[in-house]
């Protein structure tokens, strides 16, 4: 379980970082989304991983920690809003600069 979650987080974050370093706005947006997914799963696992346990004291012998769930919820909402904003910004940058390069430079022959 722990190993599986760790691998998932690792893959998500690695792909996110790779995409963030691309020169076009769309991969960067995707990269940031993957990065935030990785971070959310990471936050979720910080209270300790437990199978089939509810987050209410008294309802199960070994309740899971409810706080990371609340934190993740906040992080998801904020991340979602930020992604939406970034998509709008990327579209506007496309409209104003007439290309989707992150530096607003004209196309360099598709090398990036």
């Amino acid at each position: 379980m722990e190993l599986l979650v760790a691998i998932i987080i690792g893959v998500l974050v690695a792909s996110g970082v790779y995409l963030c370093l691309r020169a076009r706005t769309f991969p960067v947006v995707m990269g940031l989304t993957l990065l935030s997914y990785g971070v959310n799963v990471f936050l979720f696992s910080m209270g300790g991983l437990k199978m089939n346990q509810v987050a209410v004291v008294g309802m199960s012998p070994d309740p899971t920690d409810p706080l990371p769930q609340a934190l993740v919820l906040t992080a998801i909402v904020i991340g979602f809003a930020m992604t939406a904003f970034l998509v709008v910004l990327a579209l506007r940058s496309q409209g104003e600069l007439h290309n989707d390069h992150v530096d607003g430079k004209p196309d360099d022959g598709g090398r990036s």
Binding site: F85, L89, A90, S93, E96, G104
Partner: protein
């Protein structure tokens, strides 16, 4: 329980919501609402400052959930000082924007209020996750404000700014996850206590978390190598917004000071990352010198002066731990206000020159440039640290409390570079002119806003002694984290 503590967060939140409700374009009403909110904030900040001055640390438990289970707002001398500084800066910044800049895009006033809400909240909160939330509030408002008004330059700089800060937020969350995973708490005071008891793997994990926090705060404060976003974003922003942004880098510095003073001044984690912070700050200072000298526009020049002030402050923090904090806080007040004033002045000069704007090249003379040149002269003296204004006092106090050769050399060289750059800029802008210009005359409100900020520098020099005592008292309170811990954890309300 004293409910006034939450007012600096509630006032802009309510004002912002009211401003969103207005459907029709009623600019006058919007401006009055915004300015009234800023004035109320100033009054409340001074009232809270007076309250904090007695040395009592007031704790406000939101929803009456006691720490460490609920989120608390904490008012000590440092928070109160930062609140007053924010309010003093925000009013003229908004007043300046009310001369027409606010009409260049929708919802300027609401965003401005939400930005203030985020800044005030970040200064008040006593919870690490809540700090993250307030950071996000101030950031998302700042994204909107940085892009206010159109232009490809702004969009380009804005994109970099947004992407960098989103990556920063992801790092912040990872660090918070590690903090919660190892200590089981996010309350700053509780965290400070629990961090001292960690051993083995948990201690290593927490060190990683702390270093990541430094990276995040360094990004907000614009420390090398994370400052490259700043000059483009600040120089591109509308004047009033840029002036308000002068305090944003200081939010990062504040967060560093707060976390450092509470948990890492002594104990097993003392000095963690401090050596790196010291060198990074010195490199920041050095690169800011180059930036100042190489700037092609006055706006960029002022942005590099902001970076310079950050390098100066962080180096003082990293060197003297908290010994040099008193003078550093005086310098923080000075540099924030004067850089804010300079951003406004830059815009006035750019308007006066018409087409060439603030590019440092030969251009038409500014209509009635006399008044502006006097203001520029005063601001330049203050910002580079020549006697008799506040920059000089701040730098002398810093030099006395940080007895280190490399810091002395770099700070003096930075002053020299600033002096060269400012005198070159001033002589180009005001003397090397080609006939009468077609620029705009500054409105009276513009001048009032600029004067408000620039007059504070001579005042800070005149009242240097009491002000330095005040900032030293703030630092003394921070050097004694037990006061904070017992106020938050001991007995609760």
């Amino acid at each position: 329980m004293n409910h006034w503590i939450i007012a600096p967060v509630l006032i802009p939140a309510l004002a912002g919501m009211l401003l969103l409700l207005e459907v029709r374009e009623r600019h006058r009403l919007r401006r009055i609402t915004g300015l009234l909110s800023c004035a109320a904030m100033l009054a409340v900040a001074i009232f809270l400052g007076d309250q904090a001055w007695s040395g009592e640390i007031t704790v406000y438990a939101l929803g009456n959930w006691q720490a460490p289970f609920g989120i608390v707002l904490v008012l000590d001398k440092l928070s109160a000082l930062m609140l007053v500084l924010t309010a003093v800066l925000a009013f003229p910044a908004l007043l300046y924007a009310c001369c027409g800049d606010d009409r260049r895009g929708a919802n300027f006033h609401a965003l401005f209020q939400f930005q203030l809400m985020g800044i005030n909240g970040a200064f008040l909160t006593g919870d690490l996750f809540n700090l993250f939330v307030f950071f996000e509030v101030l950031l998302i408002a700042s994204y909107g404000l940085a892009l206010h008004g159109r232009g490809p330059e702004r969009v380009k700089a804005g994109l970099h700014y947004v992407v960098l800060n989103l990556v920063g937020s992801a790092l912040f969350l990872i660090a918070l996850g590690l903090v919660y995973g190892t200590t089981g708490t996010l309350n700053m005071a509780d965290f400070a206590v629990k961090a001292q008891e960690l051993t083995g793997t948990d201690a290593t994990l927490l060190s990683i978390a702390v270093l990541m926090l430094w990276v995040v705060f360094g990004l907000k404060a614009a420390l090398f190598p994370l400052y490259f976003w700043l000059p483009a974003a600040y120089a591109g922003a509308t004047a009033g917004v840029a002036a308000l942004f002068a305090i944003m880098t200081k939010v990062g510095f504040y967060a560093m000071v707060r976390v450092y003073a509470l948990a890492f001044a002594d104990g097993p984690f003392a000095g963690l990352g401090q050596a790196a912070l010291w060198w990074l700050a010195l490199v920041t200072l050095g690169l800011a010198c180059i930036g100042v000298l190489g700037a092609k526009r006055l706006g960029t020049l002022v942005s590099y002066l902001v970076v310079m002030s950050v390098g100066t402050l962080v180096a003082a923090l990293a060197f003297g731990q908290l010994e040099a904090l008193g003078p550093a806080l005086y310098y923080l007040l000075h540099s924030t206000l004067i850089c804010g004033g300079l951003f406004l002045l830059t815009d006035l000069i750019a308007r006066g020159r018409g087409e060439v704007a603030d590019h440092l090249q030969i251009g038409p003379a500014i209509l009635n440039g006399g008044r502006l040149s006097v203001l520029f002269f005063v601001a330049a003296i203050a910002v580079v640290g020549l006697p008799p204004l506040s920059g000089f006092v701040g730098k002398v106090a810093l030099l006395r409390s940080v007895p280190d050769t490399s810091y002395w050399v770099l700070l003096l060289v930075a002053g020299l570079c600033g002096l060269i750059a400012m005198s070159r800029a001033g002589s180009t802008l005001f003397w090397r002119t080609t006939g009468e210009g077609s620029g705009l005359r500054p409105a009276r409100r513009h001048l009032v806003a600029v004067l408000w900020l620039l007059v504070l520098s001579p005042l800070m020099a005149v009242y240097a002694e009491p002000l330095l005592q005040l900032t030293t008292a703030v630092a003394d309170q921070l050097r004694n984290p037990d006061l904070y811990l017992s106020a938050v954890l001991g007995g609760g309300a």
